[in-house]
Each structure stands twice: as structure tokens, then as C-alpha cells.
Symmetry: C2
Subunit: 135 residues, 2 copies
Amino acid sequence: MSDKGFHTISELAKEFDVTTRTIRFYEEKGLIQPRRDGQKRLYTPADRVRIKLILRGKRIGLTLAECVEVIDMYDPDHNNLEQLHSLIDKVAQRRALLIQQKKDIDDMLAGLDEVQTLCEQALARSGSASRNSVN
Amino acid sequence: MSDKGFHTISELAKEFDVTTRTIRFYEEKGLIQPRRDGQKRLYTPADRVRIKLILRGKRIGLTLAECVEVIDMYDPDHNNLEQLHSLIDKVAQRRALLIQQKKDIDDMLAGLDEVQTLCEQALARSGSASRNSVN
DNA sequence: CAATTAATTGACGTTAACGTAAACGTTAAC
DNA sequence: GTTAACGTTTACGTTAACGTCAATTAATTG
């Protein structure tokens, strides 16, 4: 289908379970810049990876702008010293945010453990109660 | 200030670093139901905890509706069997989501490590380069 | 007691992230 | 050759989560 390792928009939409509109929207916002075959968009593996990174960011609650920030950290367009230092700062900040998020998640997971325990206890009681009522 | 262990809206707003508008908004949406002293809202410690849980949820990208879902798991209003089973299901689903999020975060953290390493290498190079140019 | 200061209600505004619909072009198959 | 299937552009619609502003009331303080 897509000959030289390119992907079509609907392939990617299917793979990542988003609509084509969404992918075009990311392009509108400058998050990806696919090649063109006449009218049609052609997505390189690199484009695919960017979409993957965007969706991963979204899953942990980043805005598209924040996704861009994170993705931009990867590319080697940061030659001068100032940019390097500011990038290091950004990395540190982002790391702190992510660690806070992990803590929040762990807290929630602990909460879920409690809830589950309570549920199971309640079930056990109602189970023995019904067994009793059967006797 | 707040006599019998109640909090005022501005106390909580300050504590959690949100606006009073935000707290009232959560009330509008039914997320909290503070007492009243005439006009004024009075927040119990339980209200405070709910706000805390809401904000924790938001930090990991939950919508307000999802926050409610999670918070509702805590309260013991689920007496009958069907509800218990559906609650257990929900706990399992939520757990899976949270685990996926942790994975996403770990992936991102690994990415940040790479970026940081690259930055530091680039800095080291430019550092020795400038030292050379000084000599 | 007059003047801030804090709180409330109501209404409208705003931004992000898409959804939806219309109207059109392209190509592949029958 | 026309009917699908897929893709494109343009444009308006929508929802969530607040912000902002105006008018009003209540409480406090010099």
C-alpha cells in the first residue's frame, strides 16, 4: 500500500485509534509536517513516532503545547549554549512534574487497593449471609 | 478564624493554590457540598479532602467527571451486590489506566535522561572548545 | 459610621482539542 | 462510466474548565 515505508493518514489513524481529523489537526498546529504526493499526505516513520509521542503525552494529561515541548527536547536543533542550559532546566522541571505524577498515581493505586479490599470484605459477608439464609 | 474546624473558601483557595472561583465551580458541578453560615460557605475537613483528591486527579490528567468516579469509589454507599461487582470492575479498569500512565511516565523519564546526557555532552564539548579557543 | 475588604450570584467570555458537515477531487473496481 | 472508498479543504459547532466582570450583600476596622 504505502510503498517506500510511508504511511497513509488512515493507516495511522487506525493504528493509533484516532480519527484522521485528529491527525490533520496536529498538522494544523504544527506538530507534524508530512510529505505530499499531490494532494495526499505521506507520513514517514519519524512522523509516526511523533504521533506516538504526542499520544503518550496526552495519556498523562499533557496539553498539545506541552507535548511539543517534550518532543522538541529530542531533536538536535539546540546548538548554542544558552539554549542548552535552558533545555537542561526544562528537563529538570519536566522530570519533577513527572515524578509528582508518579506519586499521585501511586497514591491513587493505594486508594484503589483499599477500596478493593472493602469490596471483597463486603462480598464475603454478603456471601456468607446468603449461605446462612439458604440454610 | 474558622472556629469549629471549618475552613473558609479563601483559606482553601490559598492552601491549594486555586481561585475561589474554581472551588465554587466544583460545587456547581456537584463535586462538593459545603455547609452554609448564612451566605458564607463552610468547608468541613471532608470537603477539604475531596478537593485534595480532585486536584490530585487533575494533576494526572483526569477530567472532573473522572475525578468524581474515583472519589465515589471511596464512599460506602454501595450496598447491593451488583454495585459491588461493578465497582470492583471499575477499580480494575482504573488500575489498568494508572499502570499505563506510570509506564508512559517512565518512558518519558527515560527520554529525559537521554536528552540530558546529550546536553551535557554538548556542553562538555563546547566547554573544552572554548577553553581551547582561549589558549 | 464611612470605607475597605471578603464573599456571593449571574452572566458572558475564552481556550484547547477536536467533531461534524458540506462540497469537491482521485483512483480502483465492476 | 459510474459507484464506492478514500482523501482534501473550509468552516462552523461543541465540551470542559475555568476567567472575568458587574452588581449586591455582609463583615470588619480605623
